[in-house]
Subunit: 146 residues, 3 copies
């Protein structure tokens, strides 16, 4: 669900760092199946990366879509954004990289994994997805009767 | 309008397959001008692609923006998502690729093609765009009077 | 805040043109700190770019996220979209490129720069960010009392 897209200068991160960052980002989403968390890195050369109209060779731009959950309160938003900062800043400070991120929230009902519509939050099916760390067909529901 | 972005492992699809998938995706949107449907493929090497914190060389991540239409009902959503699955699964199964997709719906009023704001759904102008399969200026409207 | 992603055929723009377009785009957002405006160009080869199911070597697809401000009226939307057209069309016409763009508006509260949540529109803090053209910590607020 969360899809992270990280645009960065060529060579800004080693493969080991990219994996470490992806692991730590995954760790933020404790309530979710781990495989929900996707992270894609993309190198952008200075000639294709502009901030304020100036070419940028020191800028990391992060774009995130959240699908599985929406933030319920200002307090949770602030805590989440601070946690992201704590994860990223050591890697960014090391190379004196500037950074910016923003998150969008997109419709839960327009989302599939392996063609399956993921279980609703905090259901038994979601708990199974967390434990098994992979998608599976929903538990058949008893026919509801009026 | 629909913009499809397909992130995939290098070499996951041949050019012929990429074209075939794009044609089939275009075919889902029967009510729209064909040229509304954009599909962009992007290779992501394993060292830049993480799922659940693990590097992924077998994962296809699809991100879609819908602009021209919004889904009206749960039934239509379910049918659409199932149709997408039927199109993609043969290509994905062939190479044992995992996949995930999500769709966002973005504002109709913040969209242009060739600098023209597309006609509203099911108008005469939209019918002309469908028939001609290209954008054209709107039919002049008689001045509305109070 | 506005993040522009410009997908284009390889070689469609020179570096000088890419910089010039980024500068002009930045200029549209007069009310904002210049460094809010990010522009990322990405080449897409014909074999990965499809419009209406056909491979495209003459298409520019622009995707924009607006965060700092939302459009207040239809008149402002129309004026903004027209201004974008005036900027881009000379570059596109020169090479006979077709183009399409769409904008999404994403939550102000889910956005950070250098780990700092940007100041609200038209505040003293935002004015300072404009003048200094870089982020800085918010002015401490007097404790509000019930």
């Amino acid at each position: 669900m969360p899809l992270w897209k990280i645009y960065h200068p060529p060579g800004a991160f080693s493969i080991e760092q990219k994996k470490a960052i992806a692991e730590k980002i995954t760790g933020i989403y404790r309530a979710l199946p781990r495989f929900y968390v996707g992270v894609i890195y993309q190198e952008v050369p200075e000639s294709s990366f502009y901030v304020g109209g100036e070419p940028a060779d020191d800028f990391v731009r992060i774009w995130v879509d959240h699908i599985a959950r929406q933030f319920g309160s200002e307090e949770i938003k602030a805590r989440f954004l601070a946690a992201v900062g704590r994860i990223l800043e050591p890697y960014l400070a090391e190379r004196n990289l500037r950074w910016e991120m923003h998150i969008d929230e997109t419709p839960f009902d327009l989302w599939t994994i392996q063609g399956i519509r993921p279980p609703k939050p905090d259901t038994e099916d979601e708990k199974r997805w967390i434990v098994e760390n992979k998608p599976s067909l929903p538990t058949p529901q008893p026919e509801s009767r009026p």
